[in-house]
C-alpha cells in the first residue's frame, strides 16, 4: 500500500511523534478520509467525549482552532467551528493530494533522470576507457615516431655529411679535372703548334690555290697596303658606327622621353584641374581639414611653379616637376580615399534611413515611369502613323527623301506638261471653232450654189423644148440627184475627220496659229496623241493627285521624323536625367 505509506510520510512529523498511543486512530484515519460511513466505528455514542477530545487534540496539533471547548458546554458542538474545521481539513487534504501528485511527478522525473544519468555515466565511462586505450596507443606511436625522427635525423646528418663530403670530392675533382684539362689543353696546343710546324715544313703536299685568273674586288677598288693610316681609318669607322648607333638610340630615347613628359604634363594638368575644383568646393565646406588649409598655400605655389617648368631640362626643373606630381598624386590619392570613405559613409547612412526615403523615391519613380509610358505611347502612335503613311515600301528615311525629290521633279515636269497641254488645247479649241465656222460658211455657200444651180436648171428647163428638155433634164436631174446626196454624204462624213486630222496636216491654215516655238513634228505628235487620248488623261491626273498626296505625306515624313527625333532627344534627355538622378 504505497499510498498509505506516502501519507504516513507526509504526516509522520506531526502525528507519529505526538500521538503514539493514538496510532490506531491515525492508522484508521485513512478510511476516515476515504469513507465517511466508517466514522461510526470511530465514534460511538459512548466515546463522544473521547472522540471530541481526540479530535480537538488532533486539530490543535494541526494548528486549527479547537472544535470543542470544555469551558463552553459539554455536549453542544459548535457547528460553525466544526464546519470551518471540516472545510479547513478538506482544504488541507486537497492541498495534500495535490502536493502528493506533484511529488509523484517529480519523483518520476527524477527517477528517469537518474536512469538517464546512469546511462550516460556508463557510456562516458566506456568512452573514457576507450580514450585511455587510444591515448596509450598514441603515446606508443609517438614514442615510435620520435624514435624514427631521431633515426631520420641521424640519417639526415649522415647524409649531410655525405653530401658535404661528396661536394668536397666534386670540388676537388673539378679542380683536378680543370687542372688536368688545362694541362691537356696546353699539351694539345703544343701538339697543334708542332703539327702546324710539321705541316708547314712538309714540302711535298703544300696547300695551294689554283685560280684561272684572279677576279676583281666586289667594290671594284684595289686593295690597299696596310699602314698606320688604314688602322686609324678602321678605328674611325668603328667609332663612327658606334656613334651612329648611340645617336639613333639617343634619338629614340629622347622621343620616348618627350612622349612620357607629355603624358606627365597632361596628367599633371588634369590633376591640377581636379584638385583646384576640389579646393573650391572644400573652401565652402565648413568641415575642411585644417591640415589641408595649411597645405593649400604651398599647393598654390606648386601649381604656379610647375606650369612652366616642364619644358626645362635642367635637373632642378625635372625634380620640381616630379616632386610636384608626386605631391599632387598623394593629394589626389588622399582625396579619393576620403571620397571613398565618404561614399561608404553615405551608403551606410542611406541604408540606415532607407525606410524613410522610399516614399519620395517611389513617387519619383512612378512619375518617371509614367512619363516613360507616355513617351512610349507617343512613339507607338507616331510609328503607327508612319506605318500608315508609308504603306509604300519605302519606309527608310533616305528612300523617302529620294522619292520626295523624284516626286517633286515629276510634279514639276508634269505641271509644265500640263501647261503646254492646256495651251495646245486652247489652240485646238480655237482651230476647231475656226473649222466649224468655215464649215458653216461652206454649207452656206453650198446652199447658195445649190440655189443658183436650181435657178439655172429651172432656167434651162424653161428655156428648152418641153419634150427633149424634159428627158434631158430628167437624166441630168437623176444624175444630179445621184451626185448631190453623195456629195453631201461625203461632206458630212469627212467634216469631223478633217477636223480631227487637220492638225497633222502641215499645210493647214490653222497651223499658223500655233506659236513658232513649237514647230517640231514630234511635239505635235505628242500633243496630238495627248489630245486624242483626252479621255485617258483623266486617270492620269488622278494618279498625279495620288502622287501628290503621297508626296504630301512624304513631305510630312521628315517633320514627323523630326518630331520623333525630338521625342528621342527628349527620351535621351530623360535618360540622362535619370542617370543623373541615379547617380
Amino acid at each position: 500500500m504505497p499510498e498509505s505509506s506516502l501519507v504516513k510520510d507526509i504526516h509522520s512529523s506531526s502525528t507519529e511523534c505526538r500521538a503514539s498511543p493514538l496510532r490506531q486512530f491515525s492508522q484508521s484515519s485513512l478510511p476516515l478520509h476515504r469513507n465517511s460511513y466508517t466514522l461510526s466505528t470511530f465514534c460511538t455514542e459512548h466515546n463522544v467525549q473521547e472522540c471530541l477530545s481526540h479530535i480537538n487534540q488532533e486539530m490543535s496539533s494541526l494548528g486549527l482552532p479547537p472544535v470543542w471547548t470544555e469551558s463552553a458546554s459539554n455536549s453542544e458542538l459548535n457547528v460553525v467551528v466544526v464546519l470551518n474545521c471540516m472545510y479547513d481539513l478538506i482544504q488541507l487534504h486537497r492541498r495534500g493530494v495535490r502536493t502528493l501528485e506533484n511529488m509523484e511527478v517529480e519523483q518520476l522525473k527524477s527517477s528517469s533522470n537518474v536512469d538517464y544519468l546512469q546511462l550516460t555515466s556508463t557510456r562516458l565511462k566506456e568512452q573514457l576507457e576507450l580514450s585511455k586505450r587510444e591515448n596509450t596507443g598514441l603515446l606508443e606511436r609517438e614514442r615510435q615516431l620520435q624514435l624514427k625522427v631521431k633515426s631520420l635525423q641521424n640519417l639526415l646528418k649522415n647524409e649531410k655529411e655525405e653530401v658535404q663530403k661528396l661536394q668536397n670530392i666534386i670540388a676537388s675533382r673539378a679542380s683536378q679535372y680543370n687542372h688536368e684539362m688545362k694541362r691537356k689543353e696546353r699539351e694539345f696546343n703544343k701538339l697543334k703548334e708542332r703539327l702546324n710546324q710539321l705541316l708547314v715544313d712538309k714540302k711535298e703536299k703544300k696547300q695551294a690555290i689554283d685560280v684561272l685568273n684572279s677576279i676583281g674586288r666586289a667594290d671594284g677598288k684595289r686593295s690597299l697596303w696596310k699602314t698606320e693610316k688604314t688602322e686609324a681609318k678602321h678605328e674611325g669607322e668603328m667609332y663612327k658606327t658606334l656613334l651612329s648607333d648611340y645617336d639613333t638610340r639617343q634619338r629614340e630615347l629622347v622621343l620616348e622621353n618627350a612622349e612620357l613628359r607629355k603624358v606627365l604634363q597632361q596628367m599633371k594638368k588634369d590633376m591640377v584641374s581636379i584638385l583646384s575644383s576640389r579646393k573650391q568646393t572644400l573652401k565652402g565646406d565648413k568641415h575642411e581639414d585644417c591640415c589641408i588649409q595649411a597645405d593649400s598655400e604651398d599647393e598654390e605655389e606648386v601649381f604656379d611653379s610647375s606650369t612652366g617648368s616642364v619644358d626645362l631640362y635642367c635637373v632642378h626643373a625635372r625634380e620640381k616637376l616630379t616632386n610636384s606630381i608626386r605631391l599632387q598624386w598623394r593629394r589626389l590619392k588622399s582625396h579619393v580615399e576620403r571620397l571613398d570613405s565618404q561614399a561608404s559613409l553615405a551608403q551606410i547612412g542611406e541604408s540606415r534611413n532607407s525606410d524613410a526615403v522610399p516614399r519620395e523615391t517611389h513617387e519619383e519613380e512612378m512619375h518617371r515611369l509614367k512619363l516613360e509610358i507616355q513617351q512610349c505611347k507617343d512613339f507607338i502612335q507616331t510609328q503607327q502613323q508612319l506605318l500608315q503613311q508609308l504603306s509604300s515600301p519605302c519606309d527608310e528615311e533616305t528612300a523617302s527623301l529620294l522619292s520626295d525629290c523624284f516626286m517633286l521633279q515629276e510634279k514639276e515636269r508634269l505641271r509644265e506638261e500640263w501647261k503646254t497641254l492646256e495651251e495646245q488645247r486652247k489652240i485646238f479649241e480655237r482651230e476647231r471653232r475656226n473649222f466649224t465656222e468655215a464649215a458653216i460658211r461652206l454649207s452656206h455657200e453650198r446652199k447658195a450654189f445649190e440655189e443658183d444651180r436650181a435657178m439655172w436648171l429651172k432656167h434651162q428647163f424653161l428655156n428648152l423644148s418641153p419634150f427633149a428638155d424634159s428627158k434631158k433634164s430628167q437624166l441630168s436631174k437623176s444624175k444630179s440627184a445621184f451626185l448631190i446626196p453623195a456629195e453631201t454624204q461625203a461632206g458630212a462624213g469627212s467634216a469631223p475627220e478633217k477636223l480631227m486630222k487637220c492638225p497633222s496636216d502641215t499645210t493647214s491654215p490653222t497651223h499658223r496659229c500655233v506659236p513658232p516655238t513649237s514647230p517640231s513634228t514630234t511635239d505635235l505628235c505628242r500633243t496630238f496623241c495627248l489630245i486624242s487620248e483626252n479621255s485617258s488623261t483623266k486617270p492620269k491626273t488622278k494618279t498625279e493627285h495620288a502622287e501628290e498626296s503621297s508626296v504630301f505625306c512624304n513631305g510630312n515624313v521628315p517633320v514627323q521624323h523630326k518630331r520623333w527625333n525630338n521625342s528621342k532627344d527628349h527620351s535621351s534627355h530623360t535618360l540622362t536625367r535619370e542617370k543623373n538622378s541615379s547617380i
Partner: protein
C-alpha cells in the same frame, strides 16, 4: 598554293642565291656523271649551268653577290669555286694534309675562310690576289665565327693559354681591330647584333653566362639567370636588335632588352597549357574514308594519295597536355631545353622549340610578351623558318606535309607528289613568295598564292 615538279638532289645540298634568281643543287651520283652541281633559274627551273666537282660535296655556299658558288669537299680537303658568269672560270683551293673542317665565304664574296682540322688555324684565301693569310688559335665551339650583318666586321672566338679571347677583324683587309679576353669559362658561341654594334658571347652549357660586348671591346653587361645546372642552349637576336632571346636547358626563354640588358620577361614551356590566351592548334590525322566504290582498281592504280593520310588542324580547348619525352639523365647533352629560337622578320613573333617536346612549336608575341600560339604536330618537328617578308612560319616534320602558321591561322598542306615526298627541311626564297622543300633525295618548290595571303 602551287608545287613545282620534283627534282633530284643529293646530300640535302640546295641553295638559292642571295639575289633570289638562281637555285643550285647537287645532282645524285650516277655512273657517268660524278659529283655534279646544277644551277637552275628559279622562275623557270631550267638548267642554266652544270659543274662537275672532284669529290662528293660536303658544303656548298653562294657568294654574297650571287656570282660564285663555293663547294667544299671536306674529305679531300678541297674547295672548288665556280663562277656563274664565266662558266669556264674555276678555282681550286687545296688545304693539303692539314685537312679541312669548315669553309665559308667572307661577306665580300672575294675571300674564303677555311678552318683546318683540329682548329689549327683559319686560312683566309683571297680570290683577288691569291694571297693567303692565317688566323691562329681559333676555338672549336658551337659558333666560333660570326660576321656582322653589314659585312664589315668578323668576330672570332679564340683560345690561348686556357683562356677565351675574342678577335674582331675588319673584313675589308683582315685588319685586327680588337682583341680582348672574355670572362667565360669555356666560350661556346658569339653572335653580332643585327645592327653590328653589340656582340653577344655565351659560355658553354656548364655555366649560364651571357656577356655583351660593344664593338670596341667594352663589356656592356653580363647576364646569368641561375647557377650550377646546365645553362645556355641557344641565343638569338631579334632583327630589330632590340631583344636578345636566350634559350636554356631549364626549358625557358629569357628576353633581354637592349638598353639595360636586363631580363624583360621569360617564356616558360609548360607541359600543361592552361589559362593563357594562346590558341593551341593540334594536327589531327585522319585516313580518308574509303567507300566500296573507291576501292575500284582504277583508283588504286592511279591514286597514290589514297594511302596518304589527310591531316588538319583543330583548335584544342584549354587546358592542353603536351606530350613530353623524359630525357635520359645519364647521357651527355640531354634532349631538354630550348634549342631553336627564331624571330619573325618584323621582330613581332618568336618561334621556339623545346627539345623534350619534339612535336610542338611555340609562337610568342613580342608585343604583348605572351604566348600567341602552340602548334602540336603528330610527329617530331624537323625544321621551321619564318617568311623573310611576312609574319608567316613554315615548318616540316619529315612527312609528306608542309605546315604554315600565320597570325590568321594554321594550315597543313599535302605536297602533291608521287612516291611519298617527305619534307626533311625547308627554306624560304628571299622574296617570301616560294619555299624550297627538301626531301631525302628530292627537292620541290612550293609557290605561295601572293594575292591569297593578302586577304
Amino acid at each position: 598554293m602551287n608545287f613545282s615538279e620534283v627534282f633530284k638532289q643529293t646530300n640535302q645540298l640546295c641553295k638559292v642565291s642571295p639575289d633570289g634568281k638562281y637555285l643550285v643543287s647537287g645532282l645524285p651520283i650516277c655512273t657517268q656523271t660524278k659529283y655534279r652541281l646544277v644551277v637552275r633559274d628559279v622562275s623557270t627551273l631550267q638548267i642554266l649551268q652544270l659543274y662537275t666537282c672532284l669529290d662528293q660535296i660536303s658544303h656548298m655556299e653562294w657568294s654574297s653577290d650571287s656570282l660564285f658558288i663555293l663547294c667544299a669537299m671536306y674529305k679531300r680537303g678541297l674547295v672548288q669555286v665556280w663562277s656563274l658568269e664565266q662558266p669556264d672560270w674555276h678555282c681550286k683551293i687545296d688545304e693539303g694534309s692539314i685537312g679541312l673542317v669548315s669553309s665559308r665565304w667572307s661577306p665580300d664574296g672575294r675571300h674564303i675562310l677555311n678552318t683546318t682540322e683540329f682548329h689549327l688555324r683559319v686560312t683566309v684565301w683571297s680570290l683577288c690576289t691569291k694571297a693567303v693569310s692565317y688566323i691562329k688559335y681559333p676555338k672549336a665551339c658551337q659558333k666560333g665565327i660570326d660576321f656582322s650583318r653589314d659585312g664589315c666586321y668578323m668576330a672570332l672566338a679564340e683560345r690561348r693559354d686556357c683562356k677565351d679571347y675574342v678577335s674582331v677583324f675588319v673584313c675589308d683587309d683582315w685588319h685586327l681591330l680588337r682583341h680582348f679576353e672574355t670572362e667565360t669559362q669555356d666560350l661556346a658561341g658569339l653572335e653580332w647584333s643585327p645592327n653590328g654594334c653589340v656582340l653577344a658571347v655565351w659560355d658553354s652549357c656548364l655555366e649560364y653566362k651571357v656577356l655583351l660586348y660593344s664593338l670596341d671591346g667594352r663589356l656592356l653587361s653580363t647576364y646569368s639567370a641561375y647557377e650550377w645546372s646546365l645553362g645556355v642552349k641557344s641565343v638569338t637576336w631579334s632583327p630589330s636588335s632590340q631583344f636578345l632571346a636566350i634559350g636554356s636547358y631549364d626549358e625557358k626563354v629569357r628576353i633581354l632588352n637592349h638598353i639595360t640588358w636586363k631580363k624583360i620577361t621569360q617564356f616558360d614551356h609548360p607541359a600543361a597549357i592552361n589559362n593563357t590566351k594562346a590558341v593551341v592548334y593540334k594536327e589531327v590525322e585522319k585516313r580518308p574514308a574509303v567507300g566500296s566504290d573507291d576501292l575500284s582498281l582504277h583508283n588504286i592504280t592511279i591514286g597514290t594519295t589514297l594511302f596518304n593520310t589527310q591531316s588538319k588542324y583543330e583548335i584544342c580547348p584549354l587546358p592542353v597536355q603536351i606530350p613530353v619525352v623524359k630525357p635520359d639523365p645519364d647521357r651527355a647533352n640531354p634532349k631538354i631545353g630550348v634549342s631553336t629560337l627564331a624571330f619573325s622578320s618584323d621582330s613581332r613573333y618568336l618561334a621556339t622549340r623545346n627539345d623534350n617536346m619534339t612535336t610542338v612549336v611555340w609562337v610568342w608575341d613580342m608585343q604583348k610578351m605572351n604566348l600567341e600560339a602552340v602548334l602540336e604536330q603528330t610527329s617530331a618537328i624537323r625544321c621551321f623558318q619564318w617568311d623573310p617578308r611576312r609574319p608567316r612560319l613554315a615548318l616540316c616534320t619529315a612527312t609528306t606535309k608542309l605546315y604554315l602558321w600565320s597570325p590568321a591561322g594554321c594550315v597543313s598542306v599535302q605536297v602533291p607528289t608521287e612516291g611519298g615526298f617527305q619534307v626533311q627541311s625547308l627554306s624560304w626564297h628571299c622574296s617570301g613568295d616560294s619555299l624550297i622543300l627538301l626531301g631525302k633525295e628530292q627537292l620541290c618548290l612550293c609557290y605561295m598564292d601572293t594575292d591569297q595571303d593578302e586577304k
